[in-house]
Symmetry: C2
Subunit: 640 residues, 2 copies
Amino acid sequence: MPYGYNGKILRINLFTSDVKVEEPGEKFFRKYLGGRGIISYFLLKEIPKGADPLGKENKIIFSTSIATGAPVPGFGRHSIGAKSPLTGFYGESESGGFWGPELKFAGFEAIIVEGNSPKPVYISIKNEKVEIKDAAHLWGKETGDADDLIKQELEDKKVKTLIIGPAGENLVRFSGIAHDLTHYHGRTGMGAVMGSKNLKAVVVRGTNKLEFANSEKLREIARFFAQNFKNNADNHGQHNHGTSDYYFGAQAAGSLPTKNFTTGYFDELDYDADELHAKLKIRNDGCYACPVRCKQVFASEEPYKIDPKYGGPEFETLAAFGSLCGVSDMFAGPKAHELCNRLGLDTVSTGVVISFAMECYEKGIITKEDLDGLELTYGNTEAMLKMVEMISSRKGFGDILAEGAKRAAEKIGKGAQKYAMHVKGQEFAMAEPRAKFGVGLGYAVSPTGADHLQHEHDGAFDPALTGYSHSTDDSNVFLRALYPMGLLDTVPSLSLGGEKVQLFTYLQHYWSLFNSLDICIFVFEPVRTLKVNHLVDIIAAVTGWDTSLFELMKTGERATTLARSFNIKHGLTREDDNLPDRLFSGLEGGVLKGAKMDREEFEKSLTLYYEMMGWDRKNGVPLEGKLFELGIGWVNKKLR
Amino acid sequence: MPYGYNGKILRINLFTSDVKVEEPGEKFFRKYLGGRGIISYFLLKEIPKGADPLGKENKIIFSTSIATGAPVPGFGRHSIGAKSPLTGFYGESESGGFWGPELKFAGFEAIIVEGNSPKPVYISIKNEKVEIKDAAHLWGKETGDADDLIKQELEDKKVKTLIIGPAGENLVRFSGIAHDLTHYHGRTGMGAVMGSKNLKAVVVRGTNKLEFANSEKLREIARFFAQNFKNNADNHGQHNHGTSDYYFGAQAAGSLPTKNFTTGYFDELDYDADELHAKLKIRNDGCYACPVRCKQVFASEEPYKIDPKYGGPEFETLAAFGSLCGVSDMFAGPKAHELCNRLGLDTVSTGVVISFAMECYEKGIITKEDLDGLELTYGNTEAMLKMVEMISSRKGFGDILAEGAKRAAEKIGKGAQKYAMHVKGQEFAMAEPRAKFGVGLGYAVSPTGADHLQHEHDGAFDPALTGYSHSTDDSNVFLRALYPMGLLDTVPSLSLGGEKVQLFTYLQHYWSLFNSLDICIFVFEPVRTLKVNHLVDIIAAVTGWDTSLFELMKTGERATTLARSFNIKHGLTREDDNLPDRLFSGLEGGVLKGAKMDREEFEKSLTLYYEMMGWDRKNGVPLEGKLFELGIGWVNKKLR
């Protein structure tokens, strides 16, 4: 057995009930690693052109990486991918937690699920024992109830669960997959793909041990992390407040997505992080092998009952159900979070489609009558929470919004399209591109559509945002973090152009590597406690490979290119790498009032990005030479 | 002062006698490193389009790197570059020895020499003291005599010298520069550039110490090397025989350039390495901080007097004045070596132009009359040696050959062009492309024209050549050497196509890095004792930089792209990346009889290479996006 991984991929056909184990060999795993690398490889090879994302030709892949389960912070994540019902292109969503390491301990790297089951089922894996079990009694259940029932049935409270809620069963195009209820695969509608396959859950229990090439080195790095993460200024009080601090930080910076991205400042925000946490937080939760425990568990009885078994909201959720919908009620976001997790919805897309509907309502494009009497104004908490349930159950107008902002806008007509904040059909995440133009480029070219985990987006490398613009001391962590990549100069946030696109492209390779290794950006983002070269050391210590940052960056680039190739095969053109018009007109309020992107600069930068990626200038089709350069010459046959 | 280097570049104007010191700062040195990186940077910025390589607009740059002088084997080289009088494109030539470290100890990284001196001069540097000294008494002198005179005049036997011979003074287009007489800058005609500037020599003496960030680590690596280099099978008995073993190895492999590249097997070769060394070798010589001492000093009284002060021939010289000219006399190559070093000629180009003339003679294209009675047949040792002198002095037909094979062929006419084995005007080195198609691609795209130090060319990564083709044990050093670059598969020598071009391109980046760091391929070629990641460790230990193989590979790619950009600026098109027709017809003898390249496959691979490099498909012009990707957006202004 190689170090760090088992080398086994499970292939389960839900139609025939066949279960197979494939062992593609060490070079395969070294080339594709896991997560995005493995998912994009199989999706590109196996999903036929024109396949319906909710049809039997789609496949859904659950993948860890060669290093998942290493006893180092950040190595506890896993990815789920399929052709996305939201975008029609490459779909993928990651989460932290424990499921990934558990699958490794069971003896597998990944699971490819193909075919549609004729009746509701769930997959149970206990070490080498793989079962397709009846799920008739689970169908229609909220995630929490299904979780309880599965654990009772298996008589195992330690089993790690991936479960869809009613939203997934109802094929809501942005439905997600709950992992142990508190972690979540939100983006790209993977819940609907499980729903379309009558697959309620995938649960796993593993009791084997992984062997590592250099366990002492791993322990040393874990110790270094434990001793240092709290001292790193950029860890943002992760343990104390998780990502919720971003909500208030973005407000101060004028970059808080507010009222469907019309402004970057939410006038009515009248509480702060301390107050939020004092009123709602009951404890911390965390992920495999990580001492940070950055997840904030919220509970409340009033004004809404919030059940702590669903964990608590991240920044994205607080913003999507707060400022974005003009909702100042501090309990509303946490309640919406709980609702989405129970029902199986992506909080980001759900918040955006509701804020979209709110803007349409405010502008008279949709009316109270369309909404069965609901007054869907900005700030109407009750209507917002009601709409979450209507989307999940596809009741009334919820059925239209359940299609996602893009399709809903097309259905609504009357100019609604211009208020649908999406790329490729996937709704914006909670980073305002007009505050960080690189985020705009990231939304435009991310293979999954607008997404917050596909590229750097917190502006940490902009001296203007980090306050180091006039510092002559470039020994500070921010400016030096990217030196190992040869990125020696910072670039202003409010810019595009060649230098920004270089920074963006290298970091996209790196983020793609994160999603191929299934590791956490909060641990490995370059400015954090563990540096770029720590990652190289860890992969070497896990696997025993004589590897390098060059090899690793290339695996990141390779995975992005595979996902791009999947998209090209499935019909993507330059038109799909577009941004909504709103980004090219000024933000309406806050310290960045008036900030806007420039269409011409954006188009020019998009072309520069294509050129940097080795894609053709016109539609971003990977060039024959580039595919060979990345060691994936086989992809040429899929594209030309 | 930063670790490892001084950060100072000398700029000397020979016309005005101005001497300036420039300090471009740490980021400049980190981005361009030295050697090719620094030379291509300044040549591209400063040499105007259309400049005559032998005119006053040309500049000649002598460069070390940020790590030259580190107490580790392989770090004792330096580079000399200018617009080449041989090719009209980017010119550069490297050598080992001691001059580079000496310049560093004097306090400088590089010297830019501009303007032409009205009268013969030489440059003397002793630490910070820089003098332009009269060289009237040195002009016309052979290198050895000039070396003696300079040392007498300076009363310093330890001064390190770069000296041109009569060939350089006579502007022979492939004249070189001798370094301490035994080392040599052969390729691309740098001697003629010095000659055109009336610059006889550049001598240097430095007594300062360099500081390193982690001297203990450097000592550790040096110890590792000393303990292991002899055990590495691929070190080819370097200490005992130097590169001369290649001569006999290539003969056995059928890849020995013979009779102007008509065949790969020299029928009349009737001695072996042991006999050669028994008869000629008197001692070993070596380079700075290197325990290998791979240089073989030859001496002889009969049949020719061979003066050991000029060292001894490498493989390239033995072949160029042996099999290539059909000369089986084992003393001829060593004698020609001595002659070329004395007179200041590149042994490679000299051998090739003579073998070209021999083929023309054999075919009746040139006659005894053209040659003042010389019977220039294959195998005529006396005529060959005579022609070396005629070229140096530009006497008779030597004046035509002194222009290089390309120009000579044009002048001769009568179809002579097809026997001129050159790319971009520079003569082939002694690797037969039909035995390793990657060498053909390397000759075609090397910025300096056909050259042996710009790309991998010994076929070590082809299992067919290394004898590992059927081995299932890929733990062996050959197959694993490139793993840190993500190159997991070997590729057959007699092939081009996507996989080969990927291997070639990555290794070209690495070789370009070698020439930017000014390090020795015999130490750092991936299959040697020090591995790819040792190099990263060394650069980190020298400079204290948190660097990586990614950053270093990008500096290699950047330097290649700068040199390419220089060539584009100076008129290069795809036509210049061409190979002689001979390579597309079969080798005439030896075990590879009949082996040939395929024109269509070559053209397709050339396009794939352009695409991999981020250059346009048509003429290989670096794309705007690629230049930004490499952090050299400024180059766009030079190209478009």
